[in-house]
């Protein structure tokens, strides 16, 4: 029981994605809890984070490396004057790092303390609306970064455990 937005690389704004998801007919849904997820790509595989934790999606921009930070942190970016740490999600999940290209995006995630943090991903895909039925626990995640899988279109999407991924403090 999962639905999908029109796959489109050209959807620019986050607003458009969200609106597209919101406009889908609610009447046909069952009474199950519906979750909205933002899916994205890392090393060719699909991952997702809950939509309500996403503040915005921006393109790659200059990154200032910060000495003494763990290697998962690429550095600091300036987002309209805010200084935000950029976490390389590939490195965080031990998937190896790549050079950013034109598909590379930064997902700006709301952390629990009013702050935000950037997650560097290979590409952003789409917003999924899934019911609880489509979700099952993930087993054997080395990093603890993926706790659940979500099945759609015969594919398993790994759902990122944000609080785990964002705990980097030493």
């Amino acid at each position: 029981m999962s639905e999908v937005t029109t796959p489109s690389e050209e959807v620019r704004g986050w607003d458009a994605l969200a609106r597209a998801a919101a406009n889908r007919g609610d009447s046909s849904e069952s009474l199950d809890e519906i979750r909205q997820l933002l899916s994205f790509e890392l090393a060719g595989a699909p991952y997702a984070v809950p939509v309500e934790r996403v503040r915005e999606i921006v393109r790659m921009r200059p990154v200032t490396p910060v000495p003494r930070m763990p290697e998962e942190v690429r550095g600091v970016i300036s987002l309209r004057g805010e200084m935000i740490e950029l976490i390389d999600l590939r490195r965080r999940l031990s998937l190896g790092s790549i050079e950013p290209d034109r598909r590379t995006r930064i997902i700006v995630i709301k952390a629990d303390d009013d702050e935000v943090v950037g997650l560097l991903v290979d590409a952003v895909r789409e917003v999924l609306r899934v019911s609880d039925e489509a979700i099952q626990p993930a087993t054997g995640s080395d990093t603890g970064a993926v706790s659940e899988l979500c099945k759609f279109r015969d594919e398993f999407v790994s759902m990122i455990e944000l609080d785990r991924v964002l705990s980097l403090d030493v």
Partner: protein, 683 residues
């Protein structure tokens, strides 16, 4: 920039905020009450402004307590407000016993404030507060009911009813002072009545007080209007009529005053009639909004906006320069450049105005300290006096807030461990009473706050022994006197309270240093055995917008706050000497420790030129030289905290935006200087 998380509990912060605000108000009330008492004792007029001010204070206190949900304080303030409102409006006479209750209420407030944050202690006050409140209410009621002298006036009741409460009060007050009350009537041409009326009012004010100005009923031609002025004066009917050189005015007596022979008219002391608003309700609403309380975060936002404007201004300057350099656009460039200059001036104006708003005098903090000293004097049974100077020195509000704890700590240590017992002092030939001096003064872009005691000073050998037993130093370590003294800031020393008994210092000094360093400041200690100890904190005046020097190492750019930069030198690498693996520069005869930023931050940038820039930095007395490849000018910078999971990366105070989307790290000089000086050998 952040202070230690464990220390910032929002509840305590809120309580502290309340207490500091409330104490300020209470302090003002104490002063005003003292003046009120003096004026009553002298038997003279009590300045109505004084009462108004106290009323406003009580009102502010009530509102503040309400905001923080402190009911007992709110309730008491409400009753106090009642008395003062009664006094203000003349319902309660100045000689009423309930005036004495004001003093009692102020004392009770002080006790309540000390218990804020402690529910039990606050609850213990419930009964005495209720008791006081009911006495106030009873007293105010009794006073208000005692006789109505207005009945004795020979005046139209409709006119009396038209008086505002304040005007009525002034009327009663003047009756009580035994003045003559008169009604001055005059008819004016409608076209020009305001001129005529103000001439008449001015003439009367020279010899009395205009209590109220009212349009008067009566037969007048259509083009005219008649006014009645209710007047109080030391002159009687005849004298006033004679003195008032106003042919059209008629004067009638409303009430005969007391004998006036020896009372000379004193126009300057006479209360001018207030600008009467439509009702007293409005008046009291208006008078309270004398100041505006602003959330410091809103000021931060404003500051950030100003900061961004300042940065954008720079790019306008660059565009202007580019236009000027090209022949065909030179004229436009010159015009743009003019606008840029004017914009520059105005921005600087806004910037300093916003900064100004954030600045508060140290006085608030010093007042708190003096209360702590009084309490400690009692608890520790030490005879100590506190001398404060430089209380008007101003600092950024945020810094002042963060400064309270460290300062308290230092003062507490000084009393507890610095100042000796009386017999010990006398035996040493010292004044029996110990003295703690706090001195605040501005030095360049910093404010220095020095706490000096005339106690026994720091016992170096005990301090060294303790540090040795904790494994901080080994017995054969050779330390300079300064290095030994700096051991008081070692974390290990602070955790064990018995250390303080032997070393004389050390409890929590590491926390003090950490807090001050988080603000971009430094702490230094000087001590003369047997004579006393001075602890000085050097702090930046503001954290908001600062000038930074941009330095370049390889491809990396860093910002160094200019108030930490003492000078910059272009040096030849052959001038650099080595000692134990550390690099040293001979700076006019003094050995200056050098530290390469590339090494410090492990940037892996090799020195590719014989020339390096040494940026001499330091806070307080300590200096080091930072080696960088190039200098890239000065910039106005707004330091922003870095958001994200990795907190408090040592060596950086935050980041700032330079140009479009370009984040530049701001170096935290305090921690860098510290690390460099404490590093025994280079990595």
């Amino acid at each position: 920039m952040a202070t230690r998380d464990s220390r910032s509990r929002s509840g305590r912060k809120a309580d502290q905020e309340f207490v500091s605000e409330a104490e300020e108000i209470l302090e003002r009330m104490r002063e005003d009450y003292a003046d009120l008492d003096d004026q009553r004792a002298a038997g003279g007029d009590v300045d109505p402004d004084l009462i108004n001010r106290m009323f406003r204070s009580a009102h502010s206190l009530k509102a503040l307590a309400g905001m923080f949900g402190l009911e007992s304080i709110q309730d008491l303030a409400h009753h106090l407000e009642d008395i003062l409102d009664g006094l203000r409006l003349g319902r309660v006479p100045m000689d009423s016993p309930c005036v004495g209750l004001i003093d009692e209420a102020i004392h009770t407030f002080a006790n309540l404030l000390e218990s804020v944050g402690n529910e039990e202690a606050l609850a213990a006050f419930n009964e005495p507060v209720e008791d006081l409140a009911s006495r106030i209410a009873a007293s105010a009621k009794a006073a208000a009911e005692s006789g109505d002298e207005l009945q004795s006036l020979d005046i139209d009741e409709a006119l009396l009813r038209a008086l505002t409460e304040y005007e009525e009060h002034r009327l009663r007050e003047n009756i009580r002072r035994g003045r003559h009350i008169m009604l001055v009537g005059s008819t004016f041409e409608i076209m020009s009545f305001d001129e005529g009326l103000s001439e008449l009012s001015d003439a009367i004010r020279a010899i009395g007080e205009v209590l109220s100005t009212l349009p008067a009923p009566g037969e007048t031609p259509e083009s005219q209007i008649r006014f009645s002025l209710l007047v109080a004066s030391d002159l009687d009917l005849m004298e006033l009529t004679a003195a008032l050189d106003f042919p059209d005015a008629d004067v009638q007596s409303v009430r005969e005053g007391a004998a006036t022979a020896d009372v000379a008219p004193a126009p300057s002391k006479v209360e001018p009639a207030p600008q009467t608003p439509a009702s007293s309700e409005q008046e009291s609403l208006r008078s309270i909004s004398e100041t505006v309380r602003v959330d410091i975060r809103k000021l931060d936002e404003l500051m950030n906006l100003v900061g961004e404007l300042v940065i954008q201004r720079a790019s306008i300057g660059e565009i202007a320069a580019r236009l000027i350099s090209q022949h065909e656009s030179a004229q436009v460039g010159v015009e743009l450049s003019k606008i840029h200059k004017s914009l520059d001036r105005k921005l600087k104006g806004i910037q300093s105005a916003v900064l100004e708003v954030r600045m508060v005098p140290m006085r608030q903090v010093f007042d708190k300290v003096s209360r702590v000293v009084r309490a400690l004097r009692r608890d520790l049974q030490k005879d100590v006096r506190l001398e404060v100077s430089g209380a008007d020195t101003e600092l950024d509000k945020l810094i002042v807030e963060e400064l309270v704890d460290p300062l308290m700590h230092i003062v507490r240590n000084a009393i507890d461990h610095g100042i000796e017992a009386v017999d010990e002092r006398v035996a040493a030939g010292k004044d029996a009473q110990g003295c703690i001096e706090i001195n605040a003064f501005q030095r360049g872009n910093h404010v220095v706050i020095a706490v000096r005691d005339d106690g026994k000073g720091i016992d170096r050998s005990a301090l060294f022994a303790k540090a040795e037993s904790l494994g901080l130093v080994s017995a054969d370590t050779e330390l300079s006197d300064r290095e030994i003294l700096n051991l008081v800031f070692s974390p290990g020393l602070s955790t064990q309270s018995e250390v303080s008994e032997t070393s004389g210092r050390g409890v929590g000094m590491d926390v003090v240093r950490e807090n001050v360093m988080a603000l971009g400041g430094a702490v230094e200690v000087e001590s003369i055995s047997g004579r006393g100890t001075t602890i000085s904190m050097t702090l930046p005046i503001t954290l908001a917008i600062i000038q930074s020097l941009i330095v370049v190492v390889g491809e990396h750019r860093f910002a160094i706050p200019i108030n930490s930069v003492h000078e910059t030198l272009l040096i030849d690498t052959s001038e650099i000497q080595r000692s134990e693996g550390r690099e040293i520069l001979n700076l006019r005869g003094d050995a200056l420790l050098l530290r390469s930023l590339s090494d410090e931050f492990e940037l892996g940038v090799l020195r590719d030129s014989e020339k390096q820039f040494a940026v001499i930095v330091g806070v307080g007395e300590q200096r080091i030289g930072l080696l960088v490849d190039r200098l890239d000018g000065q910039q106005d910078t707004v330091i922003k905290p870095i958001q994200g999971p990795v907190k408090n990366v040592r060596g950086f105070a935050g980041a700032t935006e330079l140009g479009d989307q370009d984040a530049v790290l701001v170096v935290d000089i305090s921690s860098l200087v510290d690390d460099t000086l404490s590093r025994k050998e280079s990595a």
